[in-house]
Structures are given as C-alpha cells and as structure tokens.
Amino acid sequence: MNMKSSVDIISEWDIVAARQLGRNEAKDAGFGTVDQARITTAISELARNIYLYAGKGNIEIKQIVEGNLKGILVIASDEGPGISDVRKVMEDGYTTSGGLGAGLPGVKRLMDDFKIETVVGDGTTIIATKWLR
C-alpha cells in the first residue's frame, strides 16, 4: 500500500479528497471512465451524508480480490445519530436530500453490493463493493 487508503470526513473539502482517492483506486484497479465516475459519485454521496447528518466520520477504500474477481470496497462509517428507519431511507422516489435518484438507494444502484449497519445513537457503517467485469 503506497497510498493513503482512508479519508476522515470533517469538512466539505474532505468529500473531494475521498472522491479523489476513490477515483484513483478505481482507475488503478482497471475500471473504465464511466465506472470510475460511478464509484466516485457513490463515495461522494456517502461522504456527503456523513458531512450533513453525522458531522464527521471516515471513508475507507480498498482494492479487493475474491477468487478471480477484482473490485473496489468502500466503507463509510460514522458515530452519528444512526438511522431509525432503514426501510424508509432505502425506499425509492423519496426526495430526501439529493432529489431524484440520489441518496442511499442511488449508492446501492451505483455499486454491486451494499450493506448497511446502523444503531440509533451509535452510528452507521455502510459497506459497498463494485466488481470489475
């Protein structure tokens, strides 16, 4: 590992840093321009959510290998208020912050795997993966 693989999200500028890290790793892993942009957008949304709703947190980005699959793993974690109704937050067509198609359902669509762990009062961890095809 010759790269900082994690970014603390404290200010809005850290969103850009997380995006940059994500785009670099995605490019390095061999993703094309469009997928690079998708991964970056997903990271951008996750970082923005941390910045807006938890205040601070962390984005970790790793290249991973599973069998003969290569991919990018993104872990967004915070110790914010947590999500009380995950079902609702994951519902489509509800303009929460970003409007049409954005928010966590958008992140889920941009990536291949998506997992959310949240405890009210304790924080939220979101793990998302995109595989190289």
């Binding site: 942009a37 970056t40 669509r109």
Partner: protein, 333 residues
Amino acid sequence: MPQEFKKQYKEILKQYTLSQTEHNLYEGQNVSRQLIQKSISPEEVISIHKASLEEIIPGLPEEVLHSFDFLIEVMIRYGLALKEHQTLIEKQQNFKMEMDLATNVQQTLLKTKIPNMNGLDIGIISVPAKEMNGDYTHFLSNENAIGIAVADVIGKGIPAALCMSMIKYGMDSLDGPETDPVVVLDIINRIVEKSVSDSMFISMFYGTYDSALSEFTYASAGHEPPLFYCAKSGEFKELQAKGLLLGVIPNVRYEQHSIVLEKDDFIVMMTDGVTECRSKEGFIDQKIILSIIESVKDKPAQEMVEYVFHKLEELQEFEQRDDFTLVIFKKSL
C-alpha cells in the same frame, strides 16, 4: 453490452457528421429507442459518443475530450433517476395487479341480485371513478316488497371500499325488505358510528316498495334526494327526507315518508356522482339532467339508466370525477 451499440452508434454518427440529413437523425432516434430499452444509461451514451467521435475525427483538441469526461460526470445523476424509474414502474405494475384483485373481491363481496317483481321495472348502473367503488347498492326482496339501499361513502378508493363492507353486513342482518326505512337507517347508523373513525361519513338512502299498495316508503341519512316522476302531470319532484349522515352520532331521528305510484310513474335514486357531474364550464345543470331522463322515460328502466350514464359521460368529456350510481323503480303495470 454497450459495446454492441458502439459500432452502430459510431456508424450513424459518422454519417451525420458527413451529411446532416433528417434521415440520419431519424436513424439516431431509432438507436436511442434501442439504447433506452436495453437500459443503457445516459452517461454510457455520452461515453459511447466520445469514443465514436475520437475515431471519426482523429486529433480532436484535448479540451473537447475533457469536456466529455465532465459531461459523463454530470449525467451520472440522470442515469440514477432513470434506474429509479424502472424500479417504480415495476412497483406500479404490482400495485395494479393487487388493485385488480381487490376490485374483484369487492365485486364478489358486494354483489346484489336485482329482484324480479311483476309490475315493477328496475334499472341499475353503478360505475366507479377509480378502481374501487365507494358507492353501494343493495336489494332485499320477498313476494310482497322490494327494499333498496343506496349509499355513498364520503371519499373514494380503498378506504371507502373498506367502509362499505360494513353496510353490507348490517343489511344482511335485517329481517326483510319491509323493515321500516327509519329502522334500517338507525341500525346501520349504530354500526357505522361504532366502528368507523371520526373522519369517515356515509350518506344512505333506504326505500321499500310495497307491491300490493304500489307504495314507496323511504328515509334518508343525508343522501341525495331521489326524483319522483309523475306520468300524469309530466313533472319531476324531489323526494325530500331529513336525516343526518351515518356515523356522526349514535342517536339520530330520521324522517319517513311515503308516496303512491301510478302506472308509468318512476323514482330515480342516485348518488351525488350523478348530480355533481361537471363539464369544462362547471356543474351540469339539473334541468339538463332532468331533460335527459325525460327523453327516455318510455324505455325500459335498465335502458334508461344506461342512456343517462352515457349521455353524462359525454357531457363530462369522459372524465368521471366521482363514483356514479343510478337506480330507477318504474311502475309498469
């Protein structure tokens, strides 16, 4: 998958850059139709466009290529909205199927048989505005009498349909068609008052026709007054009867009245979906409705109600705003 379209796209784009004909644009839209059907997202389209252009025009300025990368970034959100749309379409189709099933259940639950009685010609039509009907009609009958209930839940759709099932079971518990209309309304009012939330009200009319006396006895709980057509004078009059809507308070005093029918006289019972028909210019005048009814007064009752419905449908330009129910009792002998 986008790759298979790449070649096709590039070819048409090339043609268009050489010659800006309508034909080439038409081909472009045909490709577009395919792209969207194959769920190719807009950012992918931009990416295909960029790659095609690079091959068509070698040595493009760097800035132009960068500008496409920027456009891809901008289009990602449009792609997300499109994917969300596909999910929502699927959801809506599932919902449609559920509503169809619910409508079937409702129809089976609430079906009522039109009774046969010598000397009384009955016509009935009930058409919902949305999937489910919030108007309700129910017949009771024996050899001597025919009872008819017409009700309208304030509100439409699913909540109204649920409320209505209540009236049905209240009606089923009655002794027979001759039960006094005020007693019928009192029983149903108690049921509704007990089981329904404060925001749901129902208007209901109950009438019973005694074949021996040719007498129609009725009472109303805040329902649209029926019309009585007197064949001798050729005039309509409203059958007024005071009474509060069902479900407001447990003890209500309803008024009960009677009228005797002569041959060719008829009674028109309805819900407000009939009287509150609107055209673009506003409510359709009652006079117009009366003249429509009168114009078919010599037809069988069932033809009458169907004619009135179609005529009013036309006047409303086929935009039905409320459930529509019309029942005619006509003394034919």
